[in-house]
Symmetry: C2
Subunit: 315 residues, 2 copies
């Protein structure tokens, strides 16, 4: 098992240039006031495809040997990784087959198809997406682009942290975590920052994993509004990084997430999907000690259906 390093993240940054965009670090007077800290919001909702996932997908596809790449790519994803793989595959001129839950947000299904990918849906509560993905990969011969448990994907997501580190030296980075690809990549890229993972309440395997020192699973069937943070467990490579580098994991409720989405609407003027607002929810609910610190907050995506966003506005 190869554990990527910051050098892999730096290489990834050269590969994704011109495909992914450099997202801004946003400030907000109301946010600083609410947190009692200097808060820098890494707005990955403004990333191409509406989420950070294009970083890892592009780096993983760019790393494929030409004869492998030519057979196309396959991915399984609840949404944002799907859009990202479809977008990167289109950039490299190869086909993409994406396995998605039938009840994924419509905006994510639509956007994946709009990027030219073939979408294969499955029942999230009855079937295993991993099995379907592996079977399709075997049948069709395309390379499986994993969503998080892959050194190139982790290094690619880490470019988000690299960009932060080029502008500020945060004391703390608040990162949404589920499979752990983004959070572990950012941990590699920001060696001087305290890393706080944020996960959905009731789906708090990362807190238990850190406490136990071994990967823990979530109960199947747990529901959360954070559709992008519902992995069964962390990946093994992310865990190898997390056990060394994650300082803490905190959990946020659906209600806190909806309030954070509304806060971002009112005060930052960005659209956050529930998973993308989890870190802001952790900050605003006071679950992390940040007073007087410099805080990098990863707002990881903005692909949310109008109906869900309207729920946040009405809260």
């Amino acid at each position: 098992m190869y554990i990527p390093t910051i050098e892999d993240v730096k290489l990834a940054a050269t590969r994704i240039a011109g495909i992914a965009v450099r997202t801004p670090l946003l400030r907000g007077d109301a946010l600083d006031d609410a947190a009692g800290a200097r808060v820098f919001v890494k707005a990955e909702c403004l990333q191409r495809g509406g989420a950070f996932k294009i970083r890892g997908a592009t780096n993983a596809i760019a790393a494929l040997a030409p004869e492998v790449l030519a057979r196309g790519v396959i991915a399984f994803s609840s949404g944002n990784h799907a859009i990202a793989v479809a977008t990167a595959a289109k950039h490299f001129g190869v086909g993409a087959t994406i396995v998605m839950p039938a009840n994924a947000p419509r905006i994510k299904l639509d956007r994946t198809r709009a990027m030219g990918a073939e979408v294969v849906t499955y029942d999230r509560e009855g079937e295993s997406r991993e099995e379907i993905g592996v079977r399709l990969s075997t049948e069709r011969g395309g390379a499986l682009i994993k969503p998080f448990d892959d050194p190139n994907v982790i290094a690619g997501q880490g470019t988000c942290g690299l960009e932060i580190g080029e502008e500020i030296s945060p004391d703390i980075a608040l990162v949404p975590a589920s499979g752990g690809g983004l959070a572990s990549g950012i941990a590699l890229a920001l060696p001087g920052a305290r890393i706080v993972a944020v996960e959905p309440a009731g789906h708090d395997d990362i807190a238990r994993t850190l406490a136990a020192g071994a990967i823990q699973r979530n109960q199947p069937g747990v529901r959360s509004i954070c559709d992008g943070l519902m992995s069964e467990q962390m990946g093994e490579i992310p865990f190898a990084i997390a056990r060394e580098r994650f300082d803490e994991a905190v959990a946020v409720t659906d209600d806190e997430v909806l309030r954070a989405m509304k806060f971002a609407f009112l005060n930052l003027k960005i659209v956050l999907e529930p998973s993308g607002a989890a870190t802001l929810a952790a900050l605003l609910s006071g679950r992390v000690e940040v007073r007087g610190k410099s805080v990098a907050l990863i707002a990881s995506g903005g692909n949310v259906d109008p109906e869900t966003f309207a729920r946040a506005l009405a809260i």
Copy 2:
């Protein structure tokens, strides 16, 4: 009457640094596809205070003599200029009195008060805000910071265009226009671009002004969802620039504006207020010939009440 130049805009850029922020130029695959052009969205909704107005307000206040500045400032505004003057005054450590319509969006009234300003409301359809502003200025001795008809305000707003010009050389700039401060400032800063002013349907004084070669007024009482684009007429200094530099003015309906707000939500992940979405509405409704061109689109602000945004989401 002093007509500012690009040199004044460059001086303004040095004065606003550290108070206003440099906003990003956003791209979107779906936007390029819809327009058939390379579109760069200058996201002033991500500006401090949620709109471009901080640029002009800061430059105008920075230009005051110290003994004048010490007496505080006064402004009249439908909202975003109010927030901006309050924010800049707070930065310079002086008091601000802001005259606002009683029916201005609540988010704008609240944010202005939150920045420490005293808000004086008036009835938009029965009273003249200019008269109230001049009277308060006379009574209290503070400097009146005009919203658009002021060389320093225009030069300040022009910094938005200067930033665009440092990154791209657009063929066309689509700019919302009412008093004309932003549009004329951007015309100064982007001498190589075709300047297209966008205004609300039924409130199309700028098209008539350009056609007549003399300032025309709007009928009082006309309603539009674009609360930030409801000036009675252009300012005289903006007009002096516009007659030389504006190539065209197009008008957008409330329905087109709401659709553009939803498009920005779905595809750009930014929150636009109606006035801030007017240029996008003009682009998406095909009112401007842009095919194959490089287009800078000024998305001027994002201060919109949840209720109005929910109307856009439901369209």
